[in-house]
Subunit: 198 residues, 2 copies
C-alpha cells in the first residue's frame, strides 16, 4: 500500500477497467464514496473472489470456477459439433445470439509467431485430444476475421481435415442493418468476394 | 455470498459503478479475468480500504482520510474566503479549473424539505460555527443552478448577510464554446436575464 491519498489510489485503480479514463474514474470514486459504499464493498469482495477462484475449464479452456465448465459438463449439448473461438467472451456472445448448442473450444488468442504464440500457447495439444476422441462431425471455426484469426483458422482447419472432419467457417460480411457507405473497406471487400447467388 | 456463478456476480457487482450497463460490465469482467488479474486484485484491495477508511473532514465535510482534510489543514490558503459547494467532486472541479485558494464548505446535497433534508442534514450548524469564527470576508455560493441549489444558496446567503459578510454567487450562463442553438432553454433564459453591458 502506497502513501498516496487513498482517493487518488482509488481513481488510479479504477482506471484498470477498460473504457475508464481519468474523468470516469473520478466520477465512479465519488459516486461510491458518497452514495453507494455498500455497493463498493460488495464489488471489492466479489472482485477478490473472482480473481482468485475463476480459472479455466480443463476441457475447453473457457473461464470457469469448476475444473469442468457448464458447457462441457452439460449432458444436453451436442457432442458432434465443436466451435472454436478466440476468447471466453465470444462463447457468451454465441450463446446469447444463436441457438448453437454444441461444444466449444477456447484458444485464448490466436497464432502469432512473432510474439512467441505458437500452437501450444493456444492449447492446440489439448484441442488435438478432442479431435482424437472421434465423435466430432463438424468443426466450426469462429476465430476473428483478422489476418491472425484467418491464419489460425486455416491451421486448425488443416488439423481437422487430417482427421476427415468437416470444417466450416462462420460467414463474414456487411453487418445486418449496416449501410455499405459506413462499412470498413476490408469488410466490404470480404463481403464482395464472398457473394452468393441470389 | 450467493450460490450464483462468480462470473455473474462479478458482472452484477460492476454494475454498481455509474455509467456501467450490462454490456460494459461483461467486457470489464472478461478483461480483468483474461488480461489483468493483478489490476483486479489491486482494485479490490484499494476499494475495500477506501470504503472503510475515507470519511468526511470534521471541519468542511469534504471526503478525507484524516479528521481534517488537506484544504482545511493547509496554512497556505486564504481564511477570508469560503466557498460553499454541494459535493466533494465540485471541490476538485474548482481546484482544477480555477486559481481559487480560499477554504471550502461541502453541504453534501441541498435543502429539500419534502425529502426531510433540512439545514441540519446539510451541515448548516457546523457552517454557522465557521461564520461565527469571524474571519470570513467573502462567502462564495457555488451550489448548482437548480431550483433546490438556488433555494439553498438563498438560505445560506441570508445566514451570512445576518453576520454582515459579503456574499457572491458564481455566474451561470451559456458555457464558453457553447452554441446557443444547443444550450438548454433554462440556461439560455438565465443567461439572457443575467446579461451585462458590453
Ligand atoms: Zn469447458
Ligand atoms: Zn476540510
Amino acid at each position: 500500500m502506497s502513501d498516496r491519498p487513498l482517493l487518488e489510489q482509488l481513481m488510479d485503480a479504477l482506471r484498470c477497467l477498460p473504457g475508464v479514463g481519468a474523468k470516469s474514474a473520478q466520477r465512479m470514486a465519488f459516486y461510491l464514496l458518497e452514495r453507494d459504499r455498500e455497493g463498493g464493498r460488495v464489488l471489492s469482495h466479489v472482485l477478490d473472489e473472482a480473481m482468485e477462484r475463476i480459472g479455466h475449464c480443463s476441457r475447453c479452456r473457457t473461464l470457469s470456477e469448476a475444473d469442468i465448465c457448464n458447457y462441457c459438463a452439460s449432458s444436453k449439448r451436442d457432442d458432434s459439433q465443436l466451435c472454436v473461438v478466440e476468447t471466453p467472451a465470444e462463447v457468451v456472445a454465441i450463446e446469447q445470439a444463436t441457438d448453437y448448442r454444441g461444444r466449444y473450444f477456447v484458444l485464448g488468442g490466436h497464432l502469432s509467431p512473432l510474439d512467441g504464440i505458437g500452437p501450444r500457447e493456444i492449447g492446440l495439444d489439448l484441442f488435438d485430444q478432442r479431435l482424437r476422441e472421434g465423435n466430432i462431425s463438424e468443426l466450426i471455426l469462429a476465430t476473428n476475421p483478422t489476418v491472425e484469426g484467418e491464419a489460425t483458422a486455416h491451421y486448425i482447419g488443416e488439423m481437422a481435415r487430417a482427421r476427415a472432419i468437416r470444417v466450416t467457417r462462420i460467414a463474414h460480411g456487411v453487418p445486418l442493418g449496416g449501410e455499405l457507405e459506413y462499412v470498413d473497406g476490408g469488410t466490404l471487400s470480404h463481403a464482395f468476394t464472398g457473394r452468393r447467388d441470389f
